[in-house]
């Protein structure tokens, strides 16, 4: 169903962090942007159709307080209704850039008052982003987690049935489901079971969560009920992604496998169902990031530890 395409070379291999690949598609300009973390920097590439690499640049984690140069932890393109921001995180803080320029528009330093470096408090920071300009404000800090946050998923609330529009996951496997509004309200909590939840996605009121024991679980966001449990990988899951147009879910694990799943609702019961579509083995590579490259899920990309390229696949 999918075949391998030409790989995109990276200047430095991908760091072994979860969710270590961000993709931004600019369909109008027929360009795709990729972001991968390597050590203290993020590598950003722009690629034309057929995987032809155009340009590469690197952004470094801001030094901030502290002695050693910080390692970057995540790079992500945040697509907002009116603008796209490139967000870089490190242990020192959060940097936000205009998506196509190197100018930093915002820097939020994280407390160095934490007991020891690397202790994450589990706070979720909510920023108000204006339509343009650097006037970004930290508007809320949500409490709900006690261990470091691993991933955040959002979806515009649709209709009366879907009230949840944000899910946060943490190192203990706990999921918090929130509703947006003038302030965020905690709707429900889905407890963990002894393993971290490194990646979480939200689609039409369904939460897809990938866990450190290789399982993918699907929950109903409004109630927190478990609907599907997939023994998907033989090692920890490192990344999940969704193709919202078709309800396809992508899971990548440290077991070298990528799997694609089709989500649907049973017409009789209305319960969530899952079907396996495709599996791919990226030999001898512990994966660390995976994304669909378009919202219809017709192509996807993966990164792996020690791998100095982005592996590309597209459907036949």
């Amino acid at each position: 169903m999918y075949r391998r395409e030409r790989s995109i070379p990276l200047r430095g291999s991908a760091a072994p962090l979860c969710n270590n690949l961000s993709v931004l598609q600019l369909s109008a300009r027929k360009l795709t942007y990729f972001g991968v973390v390597h050590g203290p920097s993020a590598q950003l590439l722009s690629v034309a159709p057929e995987g032809v690499p155009l340009a590469q640049r690197q952004l470094h984690a801001k030094e901030g307080a502290g002695v050693s140069p910080p390692l970057m932890t995540q790079v992500h393109w945040c697509v907002l209704p009116f603008r796209v921001l490139l967000v870089l995180t490190s242990h020192r803080g959060i940097q936000m850039y205009e998506s196509n320029r190197n100018t930093m528009v915002y820097w939020h330093a994280l407390d160095s008052g934490d007991a020891s470096p690397g202790t994450w408090s589990g706070r979720v920071l909510v920023f108000d982003i204006p339509v343009k300009g650097p006037n970004i404000i930290l508007s809320e800090e949500l409490a709900g987690h006690q261990t470091p946050i691993t991933d955040i998923a959002t979806e515009p609330a649709q209709g009366q049935d879907c009230v949840a529009d944000m899910v946060t996951a943490d190192d203990s496997g706990l999921l918090c489901v929130w509703q947006s509004g003038p302030e965020f309200t905690l709707l429900t909590r889905i407890p963990g079971f002894g393993v971290p939840c490194p990646s979480v996605k939200l689609w039409q009121g369904i939460i897809a969560a990938g866990y450190g024991n290789g399982q993918v679980r699907l929950y109903e966001a409004a109630t927190g009920n478990l609907h599907v449990q997939i023994n998907a990988h033989a090692r920890a899951i490192c990344a999940l992604d969704l193709a919202p147009e078709v309800g396809k879910l992508l899971s990548a694990g440290e077991d070298t496998f990528v799997h694609i799943w089709k989500l649907s609702r049973s017409p009789e019961s209305g319960y969530t169902e899952v079907e396996h579509c495709h599996g791919e083995c990226v030999s001898d590579t512990q994966l660390c990031g995976a994304r669909f490259c378009d919202s219809s899920g017709s192509s996807f990309a993966v990164t792996g530890y020690d791998l100095a390229e982005i592996r590309m696949f597209s459907s036949v």
Binding site: D171, S172, P196, N225, V228, N231, A234, Y271, V274
Partner: protein
């Protein structure tokens, strides 16, 4: 990243070092009593209480260069001497072996079992020395105390910190190549068969539930691997079946330990940057080394015990050749110390180094990068 990584890194690398030295001592036919003395001296220095205290303090990992300096000092804690080329090779073997073990650990927590495997074998080397045995057991207790209660998420972070430390290291080791655990491009083979980690189910099953939590449908899918359930969990007790083989001694007299320098690979660019760029961490690393080695209590050799040189290669000519042909980007350049900037620290370090007087041997400075210790001794 995790501030609890250094003890695991240090003990496992130290364990690998002892395995290799033990193999070379036997291969070079060093008399039994001398070989035992060397291992005893190194192990007793490694597990010294003051040293362990410094090691177990929560701290970030320092560079491979800084850590190598500690092992070089440790390797010279006895009557044995290593030339630069042999020390380089030793460090390559140690790091590649532990990188392999971390990568193949089924669960992040299993790195603790790997550590226990190393400690178990180390105890085998010093069976006749109850005092050193006690030191090792004490370290065991410390490990259990600190790591026994860590969550899966914290172990995952430790694992990531270790993998970042080993990123882009692809030295080919002939034993790994022969055993087909490493490919010709230096990457390790990640098998897609065998037992799943303890706590993971064999992939292939999809279960669907209704709102009451009752299973309503069950399907299977083909996942591409060939996995079986985990047989049992390894023991984290002082004594017990670890189940995991990673971290046990894979060397024997008949398996020579050769390495091949990967030379210029795609990733050499990123590694060159690490070694030639001015090192802003030099001062921090000096502090780290001073603290760590300040805790090392190296006994002055008593009596006229003659020292000897250990060769990690099969002949002296091979060793010389290796020193000359080591690729630029893989050389462990000395930490660029701005001695003038931090004279106080340098003086302290020199004092500590001075306490480590080993046998007066003609200094065989074969490589162009004399190490930190030499520079400090000459201050």
């Amino acid at each position: 990243m995790s501030v609890r990584t250094l003890p695991l890194l240090f003990l496992n690398l130290g364990g690998e070092m002892l395995y290799i030295l033990d193999q070379r001592l036997r291969a070079q036919n060093i008399p039994g009593d001398k070989a035992r003395k060397v291992l005893n001296d190194i192990i007793s220095t490694m597990f010294n209480r003051k040293f362990m205290e410094e090691l177990f303090k929560p701290q970030e990992l320092y560079s491979k260069k800084a850590l190598r300096t500690v092992y070089e000092r440790l390797a010279h804690a006895s009557i044995m001497k290593l030339n630069q080329a042999s020390m380089d090779k030793l460090y390559d073997l140690m790091t590649m072996a532990f990188k392999y073990q971390v990568l193949l650990c089924p669960r992040p927590k299993d790195v603790l079992l790997v550590t226990f495997n190393h400690l178990d074998t180390i105890k085998g080397f010093i069976q006749d020395s109850p005092t050193i045995l006690q030191q090792v057991d004490e370290t065991f207790r410390q490990l259990t105390e600190i790591y026994g209660g860590l969550s899966a998420g914290e172990f995952q972070l430790i694992r990531q910190t270790l993998l970042i430390f080993f990123q882009d290291l692809h030295v080919r080791v002939s034993m790994f190549l022969k055993d087909k655990v490493q490919n010709n491009n230096g990457r390790f083979v990640l098998p897609v068969s065998g037992p799943v980690p303890w706590g993971t189910e064999v992939p292939g099953l999809i279960r669907m539930f209704n709102n009451k939590g009752e299973e309503v449908k069950r399907t299977e899918f083909k996942h591409g691997g060939n996995y079986v359930p985990a047989p049992k969990e390894g023991s984290f007790e002082l004594y017990g079946d670890r189940v995991l083989k990673l971290g046990t001694n894979m060397y024997s007299v008949n398996r020579p330990v050769e390495t091949h320098m990967s030379g210029s690979s795609k990733n050499s660019a990123s590694r060159t940057q690490e070694s030639i760029a001015p090192n802003p961490l030099a001062k921090e690393e000096l502090n780290f080394l001073a603290r760590l080695m300040g805790g090392m209590e190296i006994k002055k050799p008593s009596g006229p015990e003659p020292g000897f040189r250990l060769n990690l290669f099969t002949t002296d000519e091979e060793e010389e050749q290796a020193a000359l042909t080591r690729p630029e980007e893989l050389s462990y350049e000395v930490i660029n110390i701005q001695a003038t900037q931090d004279q106080q620290r340098s003086k302290e370090l020199a004092q500590i180094m001075g306490e480590f007087e080993i046998m007066e041997q003609p200094r065989l400075s074969t490589s162009k990068g004399d190490d930190l210790l030499t520079m400090m001794d000459e201050l």
